[in-house]
Amino acid sequence: MFEYLNQAESIKNIVTIGSMVLLFIGLFGLLTQKHFIKIFISIAIMETAIFLFFIGNIFNKNFTAPIINDGFKNVAIMNDPIPHAMILTAIVIGMAVLALGVSFAIEYYKLTGNTEIDKMNEMRH
């Protein structure tokens, strides 16, 4: 079994399975939990799982970081810089949306005292 773990592809398998487990934990939390903050945490867990899946699968362990220093200029064995840029942007955007959501939840609780998503019935149906 440990020879299997030594191969390069097995890391990608493990990362995929692990991040999908995290995604399903987040999805389960999203579908069953009722409190606002728990829903926001579930969404954050789902986002983290996807970033983990992406970075884990794009990583090539024989290559090095995409930074040129001390005359080391061989770009052929550097890792890909685009996923880092994408994930950076996605992390900041996800955090901004969730921070906004938390402030909505705080104001809503101050006005109505309600924190459960299925008891939100300000609007008549």
Partner: protein
Amino acid sequence: MSSILFIALPLLFGFATPILNKFGKNAVVYTSTFMQTFLLYLAFTLLSSTTATIEIISIAPPLGISFVQNEISLFFVALFTLLMTLFSLYYIGHRKTNAYKNETKFFILLNMLLASSIGLVLSSDIFNIYVFFEIAGISSYILSAYTKSSSALEAGLKYLITGAIASVFLVFAITLIYLHIGSLNLAVISQGFETLPFNIKLLISILLLVGFGFKVEIFPLNFWVVDVYQGSTSLINALFSGIVVKAYLFVFFHIVYLFLPSGEFSIFLVYLGALSMLVAEIAGLRQTNLKRLFAYSSLGQVALIFTAFAMQNADAVQAALFIAFAHSIAKFIIFLSITSIQKEHSSFEIETLKELNSPFIRAIMLIAMLSLLGIPLFAGFIGKLLILKSLAVSSLIGVVVIIIVASLIEAVYYFKLAGFMFTKSEKKEKLKIDFSQKLVFSILAFLLIVIGVAPFLISGFLRESATVMLDNSAYILTLIGGN
């Protein structure tokens, strides 16, 4: 004159607003309106050129981001800037009696909404589309919770949670695309998408459908729409149904046409759209609240546009563009007139229409409702006729039946509304409409009547736009030069 100005100028205005605020609120409002008028002029100038061009940002495609200016994207840009300029004009009249608190922040959000809707339509890079998606989303969440009443906050919360879930699915789809195809440019992805194994193609398509489906309001992912429309003020509802949802529709189908050019899943999408329309119209029958009724009507019409786009041939896409144009203008009229009525009455039940005492508003709302129903001589008729004809040509008679049934149901409640509006009963005193608001309503109604009577004015242009939207090889040629 480059199309980057459509994004850069509203962003510049938004960032510089705290300094402009020192000169007073009026400075902010009038600068914003002036800038939007300038963008409208720019849109019509760009429309007059006939070749498709690209605007490069930082580095040439396929390695960098660029904006593609062809007939279809410039059509939507012109429509959005026109609607936003009219909205600002309406608001200038509205603020004399009912100004919002923190008006400057309201204008920042409006401009960000405009910039992101235009960016969604012009951009040619899938991650850039995701960023604009988020900008439009976050401005919409704050705009719907703007008045901070408990129903507005509930609307904002529901919108935010569904929007965040949609972004998660969209990011997942983008990461899978980058992992398997290796580029973020729409042209390169469209070339590489056909070579993927069927499993991954299906998975990415499902993720994109779910991710966009929340925003494009198809069944069953449209449970949030009606509550959000009820909680937000009707000023904001006009923006949502007139500008934002059209941008999302265009982006979704642009991606569908590029990735799946042979129409593999289009039958499924057509039936999904027809089902959404039927469900939305049936649910709208028993509504007694005016805003919820028009929200269900909006859902039905958007589902009709979805069905039309999903057919993936030039006649149907031309029909979709006609319906989109007529629907945006008609819904703008309706939601803006609800705002004018709201000044006098506090509740939104349908019965309050009985007390409406303004022949101008009654005439305008009647014109908008007749256009939405598809009565001939109004702009909505030609779109419905074209889509029914195109469905019949493709032998999808079931969908034709569903659409006709849904339109009849919609007619039932519109006639009920019109009956309330025109009953002779106790009226309150006459509603005063400001001159700028009358101007806005007249321009919108005039457009509906003119296009209804003489659709040949824009049908050639819309036919060209439809062909351009479906023409993958021309798009790829413009972007990466015929590889």
